[in-house]
Chain length 495, copies 2
Amino acid sequence: MKSIIQILQEKPRLAWLFFAATAVIVFLIGLFANSIMERRGEEKTMFQLVKPIADWEPRNEVWGENFPREFESYTATLDTTFRSKHGGAATRDVLEEYPNLVILWAGYAFSRDFNQARGHYYAIKDIRNTLRTNVPQPGTCWTCKSTDVPRVMNERGVSEFYKDKWDHLGDQIVNPIGCQDCHDNKTMNLRITRPALAEAFQRMGKDIKQATHQEMRSLVCAQCHVEYYFKGKEEKYLTFPWDKGFRAEDMEAYYDSVQHVDFVNTLSRAPILKAQHPDYEIYKTGVHAERGVSCADCHMPYRSEGGVKFTDHHIQSPLNNIANSCQVCHRESEETLRKNVFDRQDKVIEVRSRLESALAKAHIEAKIAWDNGANENEMKPALQLIRQAQWRWDYAAASHGGSFHSPLESVRVIGAGLEKAQEARIAIAEILIKHGVKVPVTLPDISTKEKAQAFIGLDMKKLHEAKIEFIKTIIPEWDKKAQEREGKMSAYGEK
Amino acid sequence: MKSIIQILQEKPRLAWLFFAATAVIVFLIGLFANSIMERRGEEKTMFQLVKPIADWEPRNEVWGENFPREFESYTATLDTTFRSKHGGAATRDVLEEYPNLVILWAGYAFSRDFNQARGHYYAIKDIRNTLRTNVPQPGTCWTCKSTDVPRVMNERGVSEFYKDKWDHLGDQIVNPIGCQDCHDNKTMNLRITRPALAEAFQRMGKDIKQATHQEMRSLVCAQCHVEYYFKGKEEKYLTFPWDKGFRAEDMEAYYDSVQHVDFVNTLSRAPILKAQHPDYEIYKTGVHAERGVSCADCHMPYRSEGGVKFTDHHIQSPLNNIANSCQVCHRESEETLRKNVFDRQDKVIEVRSRLESALAKAHIEAKIAWDNGANENEMKPALQLIRQAQWRWDYAAASHGGSFHSPLESVRVIGAGLEKAQEARIAIAEILIKHGVKVPVTLPDISTKEKAQAFIGLDMKKLHEAKIEFIKTIIPEWDKKAQEREGKMSAYGEK
């Protein structure tokens, strides 16, 4: 039999064909390898601004002309169709679902109105519309709502901004959370625009400028998705209570050390700490943070369109986008992963509901004790226990996604709250009996939001009417002034 | 330039060398590929018994002569040097660490003596030595301790075995948990030798014979590492309470439906359910079970010795062997993985300790209520709450490794227990006040095991003396009889 070598030697044309085919194949392999390397190198892709963006430019659509894909996906935060397992749309009324919350927040604006947060695009609209802004609020309340905030802070100074009144700033703050909150207008690098986070780092002896890019992919979120309070009666200086650590107990120790009280519950007269949304803090105790996964990895996963890879700015629940978020690391089916999330959430909610119910009873029983002649000295230890229990409940309840981000830490904290709430109820039972009240007391019907709000003495009709008047008369003025101001700004570059 | 083809044609010796080198390389690749395929096919490896093993052969060393590697690793369960994070050796005294347990178990043998379980090799030794076997126990107590159990059950019948007295069977049951508990003596296939598991499956409408090999790698463990009770006052028939499901609430519903009470706490007089060790049940609610990981995957990982791959029969905490267990799937460092386990355990233990302490207080406060004239009608609701709370505590506490296998489920159950324990304490506080007792009551000092045991009225000196006498007089008789019996059995085949 002839060897291949002999055949090729005898038929030079065949040899050339062989050579050419090899060359073509090698060329195609090269092309393919290059494509792979390009994907790897994407994070280093340079960009060129089509149109320069002015410093402190608040308008997202102006940034969007340079970054159409990012902008388009950002506007998808308008979508409110996402439904959780429990059926609620993103606009669900939390007080309706959990009427006990009205009792826990008696004397605080949250007892009037508390809806599930919607997408970033609604930040301005929702803060204008909520009944919580019927009461006078400081300028600080705007801090996390708008790309206008860095602009106004830069113009007037940070302290002046916080100290101002919320409604004085209404015409200034009109563009919802967006591009410049997280990005540098020249380099598009991630940046911190809100002072409170950088200041908290500084007090912990850390320099936020040393954060890695991957850390920044969480820290830009941590500008707002954290626990905070307004320091100083007049200053209302936005402050993160991180000086002693991130855990519920650490922050409580900080608040106790500065004798902070968010409100006094009007039923129990307990000095309450209202947790804001310690999302970043609880996330840091969970397994995803431990493995170096950032907020953006799951809430803003990479996406491809027409061969271009970019960060999806449709910030949302990863459950809405399991294929691009969870499944990048986890090999399980969408169905399995969704079930895993719901299972965790259900377990946390079960224990949290027990604490919620114990707290509602404690507040009402304390009120009955006061009504029957209990005095401050008697009540003080019980009220302190209610404060501690409610802080633990709220720490776990107020954190967006905490029951998934770190379910075990959530339940650990709730467990301590359960112990304290029941200790409070034991102490109050003793006081009740001492004052001749037969225990167990008969609790009022607070089975719906309306009944609970009536029980704590809210005139909801009046509140709604005032809000409607405000929306009819004040909001159009704000918007008109804002349009005039923005009309004087050129689309790009200087005003 | 000459082509390679031309060169080879001109120098035939070079061509031959080229051909020979190619042949050698291809041969080596083939060898390598074969080695890979062999590894893949290992689970199908056939074996031939060097010496046949008789039916119901209880002696592990007899099986071991056929399977020296498996036997050698099995004998490593003698090793007790493993230390947990908290410093205790495998022989740690749990009552010493958690004296509250003495209160929770007042009136039950566990209040005398409860050590952390040791390796399977110690099964016989430890049940002989524990103070819990000072009191008369049924034959059922032997069920999980020995390879002699299937032999005696086969000889005498299952019901007869259970009904017998523990000390009557002492000379029969002498070989610790081992080979034949899980393996068929001819095929070495995994098999179920304990009737209770198969019976529980049947009552749930399932046939355990349909279980896959991977399921069997957990089910052989589930013959013993489960919740169970002794059904019937005389029959003492080993029964798993799975008829309504695996969760704490499901088993409680089953126990309530058959009005089962393990013991009445001598302090509170609450009708208590003692959880055994619902290891399999809690594991089934965890993420490892959800992902199809079996008990053996982590507790008996594969191991290689001299090119032979085999299952490591040194059943132990995977923390002792992270490289071969966890790291087969998880890419993190040993240090990180160990920290992850301890973090989970610490959080569960924190919440569990709160419940433990609430329960101890509830039992003691109930005793004080009885002592001051409380009556059955008054106490009944509180005692029922104590029963429910203690079941939940024990369900989470008694499960070996439950705080890692399914930390969130553990804390969910503990959370419900916390609510119920405190509800019980509120009810008891009301009764105490009604009977003129000043609350809060002063609790006794139960800060050490000795103090707690003295408080519940145990004469530990007498118990220890009785045990020493038993070990001196009875045990040698049992061993002598057993040696005579085994002497009559040939090493292999028939007696």
